[in-house]
Each structure stands twice: as C-alpha cells, then as structure tokens.
C-alpha cells in the first residue's frame, strides 16, 4: 500500500456514529453518495464541503462510539478521507473501518494540530507530521485485520479466500 498524504481535521473526544451519519438522515442509507455529503455534519458542519481527497480525520478518545451503522465509516471513505487517526476507537466502528477498507490508526493525537500536513506509511507503522517535522509510530493491526485491510476490505477478503483467513 502506498503512502497516504493529506491535511489533518481535528475532532474532540467521543465522536459518535450519530455525529458521523445522523439518525435524521436514516432515509439516505440506501443512497450513500448523498449521505456522504453530510458526513460528520453534526460535529463540524463545514467538514464535508471543505474536505480534500486524502485528508485525515484526527480524533480523540472513543472515536466512533455508539450505533453499529457501517454507513459511518463507509461515507468517511467515500468522502475521500485516507485514514482515521484517534487515541482510541469504539470496538464495532474499528472493526467496520477495516471491513470497508478504511485504515483506523491508534496513536496519541495531542501533538497533531488542525491543518497539519501528514504522511502515513501503513506498512512501516509510521506517521510523519510534515508541518511539525515529527515522526510518530503506531502498533500493527492484529494479523486478521491487517490481511483484510490490505486486501481492500472484508468483501474482497471473502471473495478471494472463500472464508476468513486467520493466519
């Protein structure tokens, strides 16, 4: 996988899937391109329109808490975000990110500021903050998740192997 590069969009702690894909837009769930235009609207209304392809979402603790709606990471990816970085993730959201092929990276995000230019090397487990001239490292994903992510998500994984490939 190539290096990912883009700017940081900072979010606080406890961003829920209701912030990302709110219930009042429930009727757009079968129209994901339309839903993607509202991604994270209830946390930062300006985000969806100003986002550039390749940008990173940089969150705090417990990113993606709440509902299991996979529409949340799906529209983040569709909107062009290259990865979500947070101090910690809610369990279901984390698994959903990997399943839809969206890298979800756990590291201490305090040193990253809004609009910092970032470059991520997934395989090496490194995030370079080009604005600050600092390099942060992150631990590898569990084997099964690393495999699913590198193959482009769970659908591709199952199509390729016919089943889960745990090792």
């Amino acid at each position: 996988m190539d290096k990912l590069r883009g700017r940081a969009w900072k979010f606080g702690d406890g961003i829920s899937t209701d912030h990302i894909a709110p219930g009042r837009l429930f009727h757009l769930r079968s129209n994901l391109p339309e839903l993607a235009k509202h991604v994270l609207e209830d946390a930062r209304p300006e985000f969806a329109a100003a986002l550039q392809t390749g940008d990173f979402i940089v969150g705090g603790r417990n990113f993606g808490q709440g509902s299991s709606r996979e529409h949340a990471p799906t529209i983040i990816k569709m909107a062009g975000v290259s990865a979500v970085i947070a101090k910690s993730f809610a369990r279901i959201f984390f698994r959903n990110c990997i399943n839809v092929g969206l890298p979800a990276i756990i590291l201490d995000t305090d040193t990253i500021d809004e609009r910092d230019e970032l470059e991520m090397d997934l395989l090496a487990g490194k995030l370079v903050n080009l604005t600050k001239g600092a390099t942060l490292s992150f631990p590898p994903l569990p084997k099964v998740m690393a495999t699913i992510l590198s193959e482009g998500g769970l659908v591709e994984h199952i199509k390729k192997h016919g089943d889960f490939k745990l090792d």
Partner: protein, 417 residues
C-alpha cells in the same frame, strides 16, 4: 485454570479451547439485522456472490426502527428486506412485532449460544447468558452466508454487586451509575460478568436493561449467569427445554474485579450529551422538560411500564409535556393491555405508539424541536440522537421519567413512591 463465561461459550463454538486474547472462528446460533442495517447487509451478500443464507430459520430480519415507515425511501428499504426474506427463507419480523433485541429475548435467544446482530445493542441478550455481540452490516452478511464469524476472545471484568435496591431505585439507575463510574470507553473490548446477590435476585427485565447498556461503556458483551431466573423466564416464554445452567468456573481468570453496593444508590440520570455524564436525579437542578419517552431496548418491557404506571395512576401529565409510550414488543403491548397498564398510561395523557424503537433513534414518532429537552428511558443521549442536534436528552429509569412527566421538570421518583 478455569474459564470465564466468554471462554466457555466461545470454546464450545470454536470446537477447541480458547482463552482471552486469542482469535477464533466461531459458529453462530442466531444472526439478525434490523431495517437500518439490513439493506446494506443484503447488498453486501450480493456483492459477495452468495445466493443463500446458511440457516434461514436462524436468520431474522426485524423491521423495528422505522416501523411503520414514515417516508418513501424507508418504505423501499422495507420492501427490499421483505423480498429478501421471501427469496432466502430468512424469518421476517415485520412492523408491529417489536424491537429486534426484545423479540430475540422473548423468542430466540438461549443460554450458552452465540448471537451476532447488525445492531450495537445485540449485547442485550447477554442477560440470557448468550454471547451476543453487535457488528456491522458486512460482518453480518458474512455470518449469514457462512454460519460463522471471527472473534477475539475478550478479557473479562467481574462486576460484583451487593445489597438490596432501595425504594424507587432500579437496574437502570445501577447501570447509569456503573457507566458514569467506568466511563464511556472504560470497558472497551472487555466482557463484563454481572454477579453477586443484587444481580442474582434481579428480574430478567432488569438484567436485560443492564446487558443492553454494556456497549455504552465500550464492552463487547455484558453477561449474566444462567440460573433460576433464566430458567423461569424461558419456561414462561414457552421454551423450558432451552435452559441450561451456566456460570464461570470459580478459578476463572479475570482482568479486574469491581465491587458495587446498591443499597446506598439513588435514582440516577445521564445529562446531555454523553451517556457517562451521570449524576443523582436530585442534583440535576430544576430542568423544564418538553417530552418524556418510555420504551426502547433498554426499558421497553412490561415491568418498566408497570413502574411508570404506578406513578402515573390517577394523575395527569403536566401541561406542555408530551408523554410517549412505546412497547418494546407485541407481547408487551398485549400483556400491558390485558393488565391495564397501558390504559393507566393513556388515561394519564400518554401517547401509546405501536411496538418498535419509536422515537429513540430520531427517525420518526417524536423528533425533538430546537432547544427542547427530553427525558428518555433509552440508552443514548448523543447530540442529534432523537433527530435534532439542537435538542437535549437526559437518560433515566421509567420511574424517573414518569415522575418527570407529572411535574414537567426533572423529578426524583422518590417524591411519588
């Protein structure tokens, strides 16, 4: 070394011994979706190239979130799901049957089984000692097609609860207190086992409330022992043969043990906009309320409505307050009609809706206006949860909700009981 409940159930479903921290493929006994996550699951199944589901009779599609459908897009989603059930043989639980997790407790969930659902509150049936866990639509599509899924066996926290619940204090108050203590991400990835005298004597309705909210502190599953309460519940629901006693081994390895005593607990409330922003109701201040909502997968069972009715009997909802009553299932509706509970609530001024999620997820049946305040018995108060990011949601027990409906401001139910 003995096993935790999770290690026992997952070992049996993996076909070999598994321990906390290990990854395993486990067969699933029940798999379900609801109308918010189901359409994507059906599309993913098609993308995966699967024509059939592995066990149609153990694959359930619940229409509960937008039930009946308030708009054409959702009607089309319902149509897609109904057609999927016809085609695949999956079981359809149509509008009016109730919330997936509540109907699953009544009809499908059994001790010692593995249940996966495309809804984060699938953990509700941990109360029945099922390893019940929520996942996303694609994971559920694969589980439907293959009949198994992969899991990491979680580390377990033993939550030991002692004492007797005081007057007007319920399972909901304990769980709000628990989440306020460990915080919204405190138990991420952990399994919780709720044990001790206060949990052993708790009714199944109370257990379901607690397990339902396990995900609100990040837990993967919130389990109760399968015991006499479980046996009686299954017998009452007409499947006594599915009872089997199950508890962790005495020498099981726990990551942590937490001890609580409910005897000094008060009615509790979670304030906007986070579930772990919890304080005693009497410290919430004088907050005027526009809507009170009783129901959901947290507190939509007969016992919950009976607790509300005990306060509302012979009284009227305060001027300017809307009281929404949404039974969790058709069975709850019928039982509450038979014993007069819903009559009492309607006489007090409550609006009784059909069984389902109702106003909980902000789809229909009670969307809040800008600046409005709601006291709800649901499990989440995130900004925008009830359909409006400019509204304020407080979470409390049915008794606190009922007391609040009578006075029109957040009220400690001990004033009435």
């Amino acid at each position: 070394m003995g096993k935790t409940l999770s290690e026992k159930i997952l070992s049996e479903h993996a076909g070999h011994n598994v321990r906390a921290g290990e990854f395993a493929v486990v067969c699933v006994d029940l798999v379900y979706v609801q109308d918010g996550t189901g359409p994507l699951t059906v599309r993913q199944l098609e993308k995966l190239g699967f024509k059939n589901v592995s066990s149609p009779e153990r694959t359930i599609v619940f229409l509960d979130h937008a039930a009946p459908s308030p708009r054409q897009e959702l009607s089309n989603d319902h149509k897609l799901l109904r057609e999927f059930c016809q085609r695949s043989g999956a079981v359809l639980s149509d509008i009016g049957n109730g919330i997936s997790h509540n109907v699953a407790s009544e009809q499908y969930a059994n001790p010692g089984t593995v249940i996966v659902g495309a809804d984060s509150h699938t953990c509700t049936n941990g109360a029945l000692c099922a390893f019940a866990v929520g996942m996303g639509s694609t994971d559920i599509a694969v589980a439907m097609a293959l009949g198994h899924t992969w899991l990491r066996v979680p580390e377990t926290w033993k939550v030991s609860v002692e004492g007797d619940f005081p007057r007007a204090v319920y399972a909901k108050d304990f769980m709000l207190h628990f989440i306020g203590t460990v915080k919204a991400d405190g138990a991420t990835y952990r399994a919780l086992e709720f044990v001790g005298p206060a949990m052993d004597t708790l009714s199944m309705a109370g257990r379901l409330t607690i397990s339902n909210m396990a995900v609100e502190c990040g837990a993967k599953v919130g389990l109760f022992n399968s015991d006499e309460v479980t046996r009686n519940y299954l017998e009452l629901l007409g499947r006594p043969q599915r009872y089997k006693p199950l508890r962790a081994d005495p020498d099981a390895a726990y990551e942590k043990t937490l001890t609580f005593d409910v005897s000094s607990l008060e009615p509790m409330i979670a304030c906007p906009h986070f579930v772990d922003n919890v304080k005693p109701v009497r410290e919430a201040g004088s907050v005027a309320v526009h809507q009170v909502f009783i129901g959901t997968s947290s507190n939509g069972r007969l016992e919950d409505f009976q607790q509300a009715a005990a306060i509302l009997k012979g009284k009227k909802v305060a001027n300017g307050v809307r009281l929404l009553i949404t039974p969790g299932s058709r069975k709850v509706l019928l039982d509450g009609l038979a014993d007069g509970t819903f009559r009492t609530l309607a006489e007090a001024g409550g609006v009784i809706t059909g069984p389902g999620c109702g106003a909980c997820a902000g789809v229909h049946e009670g969307v809040l206006a800008d600046g409005e305040v709601c006291v709800a018995t649901q499990n989440r108060n995130f900004r925008g949860r009830m359909g409006n990011p400019h509204a304020f949601i407080y979470l409390a027990s049915p008794a606190t909700a009922a007391a609040t409906a009578v006075t029109g401001r957040i009220t400690d139910p001990r004033e009435f009981l």
